[in-house]
């Protein structure tokens, strides 16, 4: 027996059932998630999110949908609102899936970082790394013009979400025009997947 025999770790695969439009299951590696231990000694938390179609994150609710706060299975409160990581920097790497054309991201990304007079809005269709300093609001992220699978890879400088101290911008109001740009005018899918607790 080697002292390293537990160093090849099966990550948590968080799958929505039914799957959210535009996003496949998320692999998570960290010190804990929903009360489970993964690898206590890890220095960081990572999340790997394959994007499979137009998608948006942290976009708030459009006016026509009742705003709500999700209650997760472990009692944690969440929702599709912009966020602050009060005790962790976060790096979000966007990369494509075409090994013959590594500079093709496969979609267009609009990323909002900061707020008020300090907001920067990044637009890109090539791989990028977005650095989110602790205490800075980030989101929404709008992914449009999807052509090919891409991946969002997040690295937190803390080993767990609890340690990162994530705060939601509950008062953020969704931008109807941007939301429709992502999902079209059929709001039934939006209501089905975003306006109720994640499964």
């Amino acid at each position: 027996m080697s002292k390293y025999d537990d160093h090849c770790v099966e990550m948590l695969l968080r799958e929505d059932n039914p799957r959210r439009p535009g996003r496949a299951g998320t692999y998570i590696f960290g010190q804990e998630f929903k009360g489970q231990d993964y690898f206590e000694a890890t220095p960081i938390l990572t999340e790997i999110m394959p994007i499979t179609g137009n998608y948006m994150m942290m976009s708030g609710f459009p006016a026509e949908v009742q705003k709500r706060i999700y209650t997760m299975r472990d009692g944690h409160k969440g929702g599709p609102y912009p966020k602050y990581n009060m005790n962790a920097d976060k790096l979000m790497i966007f990369s494509g899936s075409d090994p013959d054309n590594m500079k093709d991201l496969g979609a267009h990304v609009e990323f909002h970082l900061g707020e008020g007079g300090n907001e920067s809005i990044f637009h890109f269709d090539e791989p990028r790394a977005v650095f989110v300093p602790k205490g800075v609001r980030h989101g929404p992220i709008y992914i449009t013009q999807f052509r090919r699978m891409l991946t969002m890879f997040c690295v937190f400088t803390q080993p767990s979400k609890e340690a990162a101290d994530i705060v939601q911008a509950w008062d953020y109001v969704g931008d109807d025009a941007k939301i429709h740009e992502v999902i079209g005018d059929d709001m039934s899918e939006y209501k089905k997947f975003f306006a109720e607790n994640p499964k």
């Binding site: 080697s2 002292k3 390293y4 025999d5 160093h7 090849c8 770790v9 099966e10 990550m11 695969l13 799958e15 496949a24 692999y27 590696f29 690898f39 000694a41 890890t42 220095p43 960081i44 990572t46 790997i48 394959p50 499979t52 602050y84 920097d89 790096l91 790497i93 990369s95 899936s97 090994p99 013959d100 590594m102 500079k103 990323f111 970082l113 900061g114 707020e115 008020g116 300090n118 907001e119 920067s120 990044f122 890109f124 090539e126 791989p127 990028r128 790394a129 977005v130 650095f131 989110v132 300093p133 205490g135 800075v136 609001r137 699978m149 991946t151 890879f153 690295v155 400088t157 705060v167």
Partner: protein
């Protein structure tokens, strides 16, 4: 709610460096690199690449063969031999590219961690994260039974490879 800091965020969307050797390395697409060389506030050195076929990483050279030594632009001496990171922990995350079947890695991986009586050899064909503590030798890595591209993301808890204290074990000999 906290006040937003006054820092200028306009530089925080970073174009990473693409290491794109010509001809490409067998079984491996070009590598995206991110670290302090590309963004001054970076806290990690990260490389991510797609595996495109069977291959071996850091296989060493057979006993008696001339050693292969690469000298980087920073003077760092490397080569196709197992490594140590003396000042940084290292995560290597392996994920597939089939969103309909996320538990399929797309190939079989054999990964060597540690040495001597602490040597551990991992075999897997589903996504995994390998945790490499600082100071522990790692590699070779052998990819076989390749069916579909998969992604390796390599994270060092240091902002540069120099800060990670990376050392190559030039004494390693490929097993006969």
């Amino acid at each position: 709610m906290s006040r937003p800091p006054k820092a200028d965020l306009s530089a925080n969307c970073v174009e990473m460096f693409l290491k794109d050797p010509k001809p490409p390395e067998p079984g491996k697409a070009a590598v995206w690199m991110y670290g302090q060389d590309h963004f001054p506030a970076a806290e990690h050195w990260i490389e991510t690449w797609m595996v495109t076929g069977d291959h071996v990483m850091m296989p060493g050279t057979p006993a008696g063969a001339e050693k292969i030594i690469h000298v980087g632009p920073d003077g760092h001496r490397g080569g196709p031999y197992p490594k140590f990171h003396h000042n940084a922990d290292n995560l290597m995350i392996f994920t597939g590219t089939d969103p309909a079947n996320p538990r399929d890695l797309g190939a079989h991986v054999e990964f060597h961690l540690g040495e001597g009586d602490q040597a551990q050899v991992f075999h897997f064909d589903a996504p995994r994260c390998i945790v490499i503590p600082r100071g522990v030798r790692h590699f070779p890595m052998i990819v076989t039974g390749w069916r579909r591209p998969f992604v390796i993301t390599d994270i060092l808890t240091a902002p540069t490879r120099t800060a990670a204290g990376t050392e190559t074990d030039f004494s390693y000999e490929t097993p006969a």
